[in-house]
């Protein structure tokens, strides 16, 4: 059996394999799928297949509504991490105190568990005044 004729006989199959790979790549690329983040899907993902579930839709709505404070929460968390790596840095400490005050002011008006957790973390790193 000649290698070349065997290869010619397998052309259709090779094309089919390539079609499978390309299609999968398109889906992964266009759906912005991150395999790293979705690894747990292999074990068990309680939300898999629940994209249209009313609870999931509600969660998305709430997340969008609280988007105004997400930036502040992220800022507070980042400062907390930076301070933890460089304790005693006066510039960072001053900024952290300012952010904590702003967060506490915002939290006085309404409930935001994400911002509250970030502020608490920052407080833990800053220590008592």
């Amino acid at each position: 059996m000649r290698k070349r004729s065997a290869l010619h006989a397998a052309r259709g199959q090779i094309a089919w394999i390539l079609a499978l790979i390309v299609s999968t790549a398109i889906v992964v690329r266009l759906e912005h799928v991150s395999f790293e983040a979705e690894r747990s899907a292999l074990v068990s993902n309680p939300f898999s297949g629940q994209e249209s579930d009313p609870v999931a839709l509600l969660a998305r709505t709430r997340e969008a509504a609280s988007r105004g404070d997400t930036g502040l929460a992220q800022h507070a968390t980042a400062l907390a991490l930076a301070l933890a790596r460089a304790p005693g840095d006066p510039v960072l400490a001053a900024e952290a105190r300012a952010i904590r005050s702003e967060a506490e002011a915002r939290l006085a008006g309404r409930e935001d568990p994400v911002l509250a957790a970030a502020a608490a973390l920052l407080g833990e790193v800053l220590g008592p005044d």
Binding site: M1, R4, S5, A6, L7, H8, A9, A10, R11, G12, Q13, I14, W16, I17, A19, L20, I21, S23, T24, I26, V27, V28, L30, E31, V33, E38, A41, L42, N45, S48, G49, E51, S52
Partner: protein
């Protein structure tokens, strides 16, 4: 140059141990991932809002997966027996327990079974039979078995020095014809040929060595069709339409992807996959079955199995009658004299036949021989092509032949299921199960054809969702399965076989329905002359599906682009790929219905028999 262009038979795909090990690794991995996918399908993916759709598809996938498991077992290893030194005397092929065989030369009968084929076609086979090589003197006799009782055939036989055998009726068709010839001949070995079989000079030297093993009952050799249309080279096809530019373009494409021939083997007749892989890889389980033409049989084995089968049938009938009589008379047993007389009359009424009188007599006889555990008969599928014959080259003849195969096989499954038969070993049962199971494929193939159409028209998914989880489960399985088959069947075209397997669903469904209704499968002789014309009526179901697939693709993509619910990107891509695969499968048979041979490239090959005759 392709094989067909040169009109040379395929060479055996002799895979080395490493190659086989790689195939076995990939096949195992594919089955492991396949099992994982099937379990996931049943436990986590069924769409609760559309169980009417979801469950049948999951059933179809599971049934197809069982078929894949059987197929993998079938192809597992190419381990095969090797022939011994060529026998010279009759004693050389007998076992120690068979008594003295004598020093007389080995007697070989060559049977050419014919009914209505052109006597000149048979003449070519007779001439080739006279040219067989053998390094020792054989008592070789050639016989024409004419069920057509034609003087012209008798004359050809006389001119070619062959013995002419005929009979007064056509009972049992080909099987009956062979039985009649066995009554009139006495060779130790019998070579079975059809009217169009032309043996190569090395036919006997390649096959008789296996009979040194006294348990080998028959040796089947591959059936190679030398008249398969080679098709038109792409460069020629394009040059006819676009002139020089077309020829240049065609050559450029062929330089990249290799030779492309339009209309090559339009009926999927190339049997390399079947003989070189499916049949040959049954040797390890001693389960390759006889396919009739181009096979060599040990007379003793045929006769012995026939006697056993005959006595068993007499016993069965007699016992049943004795029980009925005892119930009627109230006697506990019959007088010996009455019983013996009854049995004698049953023996007179029961046909004695070495070949089961059945439309699939080859398969039936093989099952009978394999299940004779007491003698432990063996079969061998020889890998090398040592004969040539002609293929059905129009869709009508092709359909007749395939319906006969499907109906005959399913009829055996229904009426004398070999899986329930005592005597067959476990691996033999698995191999026969693979054969029978493949003929049930229309039951799941029709679901595979319908499912993407339903989705694309309605947006109703057979899965809970086409999420990442679906792709994570199915893609490794599909890729590993493709890789396994690419490696395991390296040397033959898998896609072609797969497409015909899918495209044949109405024919196989018809055969299944006929058998379930208890309809008798007829014994038509596959025509050797090409019927001209277009056979669109034979492919009306395939045409209907093609129209539905194209329409559903259009509707599906419009729905996707308009953002209709349910038409996610993953769903539309998965179903498009699936539909295109279905479409390509169905188009092969529609193309075959419309096919006409190219006068320059196809006809000279197809009509070569006429040239040889001239």
């Amino acid at each position: 140059m392709t094989r067909f262009e040169r009109q040379e038979p395929w060479t055996h795909a002799d895979h080395g141990p490493l190659h086989v090990a790689l195939w076995q690794f990939l096949a195992t991995a594919s089955l492991v991932f396949g099992t994982w996918y099937i379990v996931w399908r049943w436990t986590s993916s069924l769409n609760p809002d559309a169980l009417w759709f979801s469950v049948p598809l999951a059933v179809a996938e599971t049934l197809a997966f069982i078929g894949l498991v059987l197929y993998t077992v079938n192809l597992w290893t190419p381990r095969s027996p090797r022939p011994g030194p060529l026998p010279v005397t009759a004693g050389d092929i007998l076992g120690e327990t068979d008594g003295p065989g004598g020093d007389r030369p080995l007697a070989v009968d060559i049977f050419f079974a014919t009914y209505n084929e052109d006597p000149e076609l048979v003449r070519l086979g007779l001439q080739d039979a006279r040219r067989l090589d053998y390094p020792a003197a054989l008592d070789l006799r050639v016989h024409v078995l004419d069920d057509g009782r034609r003087p012209a055939m008798a004359q050809v036989a006389a001119e070619e020095g062959a013995n002419y055998i005929t009979r007064s009726d056509n009972v049992g068709y080909k099987a009956g014809n062979l039985r009649n010839a066995m009554d009139n001949t006495g060779g130790d070995l019998i070579v079975i040929c059809d009217a169009d079989t032309r043996l190569f000079p090395d036919f006997l030297t390649e096959t008789l060595g296996y009979f040194r093993d006294p348990k080998v009952a028959w040796v089947q050799t591959p059936q190679w069709f030398w008249d398969i249309p080679p098709g038109v080279p792409l460069a020629v096809w394009l040059s006819r339409r676009l002139g020089r530019a077309g020829a240049w373009l065609g050559r450029a494409v062929e330089r990249i992807v290799g030779p492309v021939r339009l209309g090559e083997d339009p009926f999927g007749n190339d049997p390399q996959m079947f003989y070189d892989f499916i049949q040959h890889r049954r040797n390890w389980a001693n389960a390759s079955f006889c396919c009739g033409a181009a096979s060599v049989h040990r007379r003793e084995a045929l006769m012995e199995v026939a006697i056993r089968s005959w006595t068993r049938r007499i016993e069965d009938v007699s016992r049943r009658e004795e029980r009925q009589t005892a119930r009627l008379t109230g006697e506990s047993a019959l007088y010996d004299a009455v019983r013996d007389t009854a049995r004698m009359s049953r023996a007179r009424e029961t046909d004695f036949t070495p070949f089961k009188l059945h439309v699939s007599e080859d398969l039936y006889t093989s099952i009978q021989m394999h299940s004779d555990r007491e003698r432990g008969w063996k079969s061998v599928m020889h890998p090398k092509v040592v004969s040539r014959m002609m293929s059905p080259n129009d869709l009508l003849s092709w359909s007749i032949q395939r319906f006969k195969y499907a109906g005959g096989t399913l009829d055996i499954l229904r009426n004398d299921n070999p899986l329930l038969r005592r005597g067959l070993t476990g691996p033999q049962k698995l191999m026969y199960a693979a054969t029978f199971y493949s003929y049930l494929s229309p039951l799941w193939n029709i679901v595979f054809l319908v499912a993407p159409i339903v989705f694309l028209f309605t947006g109703i998914a057979p899965l809970r969702t086409y999420s990442l989880e679906f792709f994570l489960h199915i893609i490794p399985f599909l890729l590993l399965n493709e890789m396994a088959q690419l490696v395991g069947l390296w040397g033959t075209s898998v896609m072609r076989g797969r497409r015909w397997y899918m495209a044949m669903f109405p024919l196989n469904l018809g055969a299944l329905w006929a058998v379930l209704r208890g309809q008798r499968i007829a014994f038509p002789v596959t025509p050797k002359d090409r019927a001209s014309g277009r056979f669109l009526r034979l492919v009306r179901w395939q045409i209907a599906f093609v129209i539905m697939i194209v329409a559903s693709l259009a509707v599906g993509w419009i729905s996707f682009l308009q953002g209709e619910p349910g038409f996610s990107l993953g769903a539309i891509i998965a179903n498009t790929l699936w539909s295109v695969n279905n479409l390509l499968s169905l188009l092969v048979v529609i193309r075959a219905a419309l096919w006409t041979p190219d006068p320059v490239h196809d006809l000279p090959v197809m009509e070569r028999f006429r040239d040889a005759e001239a």
